[in-house]
Structure formats: structure tokens, C-alpha cells
Amino acid sequence: MSENIGINSMDDAVLKTEEAEYKGQIVQYMKMDDGGNKIVRVISTDPKVYLKKEFQPGKVIKEQIFENK
């Protein structure tokens, strides 16, 4: 039983995403162990955004994800 809870809580941690603005778009990203941020999903209604390389799901961003203007 305790094993089950352990697995579930681990899954939750793996699935946890955060949101931030990156290059003018809202992105959902996952924090990785090495400090990088992995893009999970970009939230936009503009179909062009989905073709941009920097927003492809799985892309890892090494730098701080928040835009410094």
C-alpha cells in the first residue's frame, strides 16, 4: 500500500508543470534536475507559433525561462 502511494506521488512530481512567458508566449514547462526547463506545451491560438522551433514540445531551455525585458 505504501509502495502505491510512493509511486503516485512520484508520478505527480514528474507531471508537474509550471507556466511562464517565454519569447512572448505563455509556455507550460517542466523543471528538470539539471536546472534546465523542458517545454511541455505552448498556449496560443496562433497556429504559426506551433511551427516555431523554440516552442517544440520536449525542447530544453538552459537559460532562465522568464523573459528579462
Binding site: 508520478d11 507531471l15 498556449i43 491560438t45 497556429p47 504559426k48
Partner: protein, 216 residues
């Protein structure tokens, strides 16, 4: 400089994907894939405000979710002031039905399914007459919206929603592609290409209407 120019350009047709569960006032656990109302509502306002955007394509693949959030998005889509075409791929269940019919013209792919069923509630339910009356009122709101935006009659929709012979151990009806069109809920069976074609057609009509109105 080149980059800046690129950013200013926005597509003429925008696409709203409503996938997974519709997330409203209650946050869902991270295992759930959701479309959140706090994302969708401001996006719809932005689409209404941006003159460069001529039309919106709504792609639905949803299991349903928060009734109030679903109705809010549906009402916003139907009052967007720009041509909206919706297409159901995979599934448009439960509150996905009003979302699908909220557009000016709706499509369904041949393999898509839609579940029509009475509204449900999670969490603490107080067992009093008033709870039932509230459910009834909410159900009437959804039925009213769907019948207002599609060709199905109130009686037929109620009949489908309350059918007990269709789903195992549950009340409701699952309708598939062509059947949704026959029942008058969806306008046409089609794919992405056909939906885009229709949206462009509606955009042109809209443009002509504005021009003729301006001329007079």
C-alpha cells in the same frame, strides 16, 4: 529587426484547441490534461480585439468538464463577432456538445463520438429538493443553448440525454459522426481541409457584409 517584424505578424485564422478536460473553478490533479478557462477566456477577448484576425477555428477533442466554464466559453464563441468554425476530432463529450454547436458552422469527423448525458456533480452533494432543482435548471440552460445554436429540437435532445438503453449502467446517448449530423446537432461531416474552406467562405461573406454596410 527581422525577428521583430516576424513577431508583429499574426495569422489571419487562429485556432483554439480545446483538449482534455475543461478546467474551471476547481483545479484538477496533474494527471489530468486540461484546457483552462483562464487561458481561453482572455485569448477569445484578444481575438475579438485584434483586427488582423479574421476568423477562428475551434478544434475539439474533449471529455467534458466544468459546466460553468464550458458554458462561458460557448457563449463567448457564439458572441465573438467573427466567423467561428468548430470541428470535433475524436470526441466532443458532455459539455463539449455546447462548445461544438457554439460556432457559426460545425463539423465532425466520421470517427468522432459525442456523449449526451445529464449533468453530474462531484464532491459534497446535499440531499435536498433544492439540489435537484438546481440540476434541473442547469440542464435546462444547456439544452436551451444547444437547441438555440443547432437544429435539434428540445424534445429530441432531452430524449437522447435521458436514454437509458444506450450506455452501460448510465443515462445518456453516444452519437457518432454521421449520426450527429442526422440529429441536427452538427452541420456537416468533414475534416480539417473542409473546415478551413468553410471558414474562409464565412470570412469572405463577413467581409462583403461589412463592405456593403459601409457603402450604404
Amino acid at each position: 529587426m527581422e525577428n521583430k517584424k516576424d513577431e508583429d505578424k499574426t495569422s489571419e485564422i487562429h485556432c483554439l484547441t480545446i483538449v482534455g478536460q475543461i478546467e474551471g473553478h476547481v483545479m484538477l490533479p496533474p494527471q489530468n490534461k486540461t484546457t483552462k478557462y483562464e487561458h481561453v477566456i482572455p485569448q477569445l477577448v484578444a481575438i475579438n480585439q485584434n483586427d488582423k484576425i479574421k476568423g477562428l477555428l475551434v478544434v475539439l477533442n474533449t471529455v467534458g468538464g466544468d459546466v460553468e466554464a464550458g458554458l462561458a466559453i460557448s457563449e463567448m464563441l457564439s458572441s465573438l463577432g467573427k466567423p467561428v468554425v468548430s470541428i470535433v476530432f475524436g470526441g466532443g463529450h458532455s459539455i463539449g456538445v455546447p462548445l461544438a454547436v457554439a460556432s457559426n458552422y460545425s463539423f465532425i469527423s466520421p470517427t468522432s463520438t459525442m456523449t449526451l448525458h445529464p449533468i453530474r456533480m462531484n464532491g459534497t452533494v446535499i440531499g435536498v429538493q433544492q439540489t435537484f432543482e438546481y440540476f434541473d435548471k442547469m440542464q435546462d440552460l444547456i439544452i436551451e443553448f444547444v437547441t438555440r445554436k443547432s437544429k435539434i429540437t428540445k424534445e429530441r435532445l432531452k430524449q437522447l440525454i435521458l436514454d437509458t438503453a444506450n450506455i452501460a449502467k448510465d443515462v445518456g446517448t453516444v452519437i457518432i459522426g454521421e449520426q450527429a449530423v442526422k440529429e441536427g446537432i452538427i452541420n456537416e461531416v468533414g475534416g480539417l481541409d473542409r473546415a478551413m474552406e468553410k471558414l474562409k467562405e464565412l470570412i469572405n461573406e463577413n467581409k462583403n457584409n461589412i463592405e456593403s454596410r459601409d457603402a450604404t
